[in-house]
Symmetry: C2
Amino acid sequence: MARPPKERQFANLPELIKDAAWRQITQSGASSLSLRGIARDLGITAPAIYNYFPDRDALVTSLIADAYASFGDCQLAARDAFAGQGKELDRLRATGLAYRRWALDHPHRYLLIFGNPVPGYEPPMEELLPVMMRSLGALVGTIAELHALGRLETGRLPLPLIDTDHRFFSLLENADEGMLAVYAISIAVWCRVHGLVSLEITGQLPLFGEDGAALYRFELDAICRQFIRSPEDDTGVIPRTGTVREP
Amino acid sequence: MARPPKERQFANLPELIKDAAWRQITQSGASSLSLRGIARDLGITAPAIYNYFPDRDALVTSLIADAYASFGDCQLAARDAFAGQGKELDRLRATGLAYRRWALDHPHRYLLIFGNPVPGYEPPMEELLPVMMRSLGALVGTIAELHALGRLETGRLPLPLIDTDHRFFSLLENADEGMLAVYAISIAVWCRVHGLVSLEITGQLPLFGEDGAALYRFELDAICRQFIRSPEDDTGVIPRTGTVREP
DNA sequence: TGTTGATTTATACAGTGTAAATTTATACTG
DNA sequence: CAGTATAAATTTACACTGTATAAATCAACA
C-alpha cells in the first residue's frame, strides 16, 4: 500500500473544477461548457479532470445537483419565513415569489435544471431525484397543508393518472396515496410560473421589460384565486388534520 | 461572363441542405447540428455548404424562419376554421389547441423557436420579425376581435409599458396604440400555454403521461373564463372558478 | 479558350475522451 | 533511518469530430 487517496496534489480539486464550470456557464451558457476551458482556467490539463468526473456529463450532473440544492434552499427558506398555522397562503405566495427571484438571480442554474434538456445528456434520475424532491417539497408541502385544511379548490382540474410512473412525487414529504389533488394543483401551479419565468429569463417576454414582476404577481394572484379557498369561505368541508379527504 | 449562377452542380442544394438539417435535428436535437454530418448525408463535402450559408448560424436562422412559417400556417389555419362573427371564442380555443398540437407534432421546431436560446447564437431580428409577427397574428388578432366586441376582461392584469421597445407587436395586423389590453392578454395567454407545452414536450411534465391534453384543455378553459366575457354577460363579473364545486 | 461559379483538397484550430508515460508522496523493507 | 516499491495524481501523446478559411481544381458557357 502507498499513498492514500485523501492526499491530492491540489486540495479540493473537484470543488475548484465545479467553481470554474459555473464561472464558464455564467459567462457563455451551459451548452458551451468545455473541460479544456476549465483546465485552462485552473492551470491544469484537461485529462486531469477525468480523475474526478468520468466524463462531461458527470460534471453536468454534479452541477445540476448543486443547482437543485441552491434552488431548494431558497424555496424552503421562503416557506419557513411564514411559519405557523393560518399563514399557509403566505407560505404559498412566498415560495412563488422566491421561485422567480431565484431564477432571476441564477438564470443559468434555472435553465440547467428547468430549461430545455441538453441533447445527448441523459440526467441520471437515481442520483438527482432526492435533491429534486427536496426542492419541490416547499411548494407541494404547502399545497398539502392547504389541502389538509380543506381549502383546495380543484374544480375541473384533471387528476394525475395514478397508474403511471409517479417517481416525481413518491418521495415527497407528507406524501401519501390520497393526495392526487395536491399533486395536480402543484403541477398546474408549476406550469404557470415556469411559463412566465422561463420566458422572462430568456428574454422572450416582450413589452414588460423591468415589469415582469407585475405580470408575475398578477399570475400568483390568479393562481390563488383559482385554486385556494379562503378559510372563511366554508362550503361544508370540515377542516381536518390527520385524515385526508378526497374532493 | 461565363456560367450563369442558376446552373448549380446540384439543383436545389440549399433546400437539400435544410432538409438534411431537419432530419439531423429530428434525430439528435438542434444543438448537435453538424455541417459535416449534413455534408456526409448529402454525399458532398462540408465546405460546399458555405457557398449557400455563410456559417452555421445562418443555416440555423433559415431553419428558424421555416419553423415560424410552419407554425404560422397551423395557427392561421386553426383560426380560419371558425370564420364569421360569433365564433371568436371558437377561434381563440382553436388557436390554443393548434398551438399544442403543432408543438407535439414538431417538438424540435417548437424548441428551436420558443425554447431556450442557443448560447452564442444571436437571432437576426430584422430577418425573423416578419415571420414571427405573422405566426403570432392568429392569437393576437382573435384577442383583438374580442376586444372590439367589448368582451375582454383585463381585471388587474398589468398593461404593457408603452414606452419600451415594442418591436414584437408593432407590426401585427390591426395593431394600433389603443390595444394595450390586447397585447397584455395575448402575452399572458402565451405564457400559460408555453409553460405547459414546453414542459410536456421536454418530458418534464410528470404524472400526466398521455393525458397532458386534459391539463391543457383545463388551462384553456381557465384562460377563457378569466379573460373573456361571454357576449350576453355585460356586467363585467367573471364567474369565479372557486365558487362551484365539482359534483 | 478564357472566365467564373461550384466544389474539393488541404490546413488551422478547438473540442472530447483514452492510453501510456511520468511525477509525487506514502508505506514498507533491509 | 535510508532506499525502494507502489499507487494515486497528473501530463504527454494520440485518435477522433467539429467549424471555418484559403488555395487548388473542376465544369460550363460566352
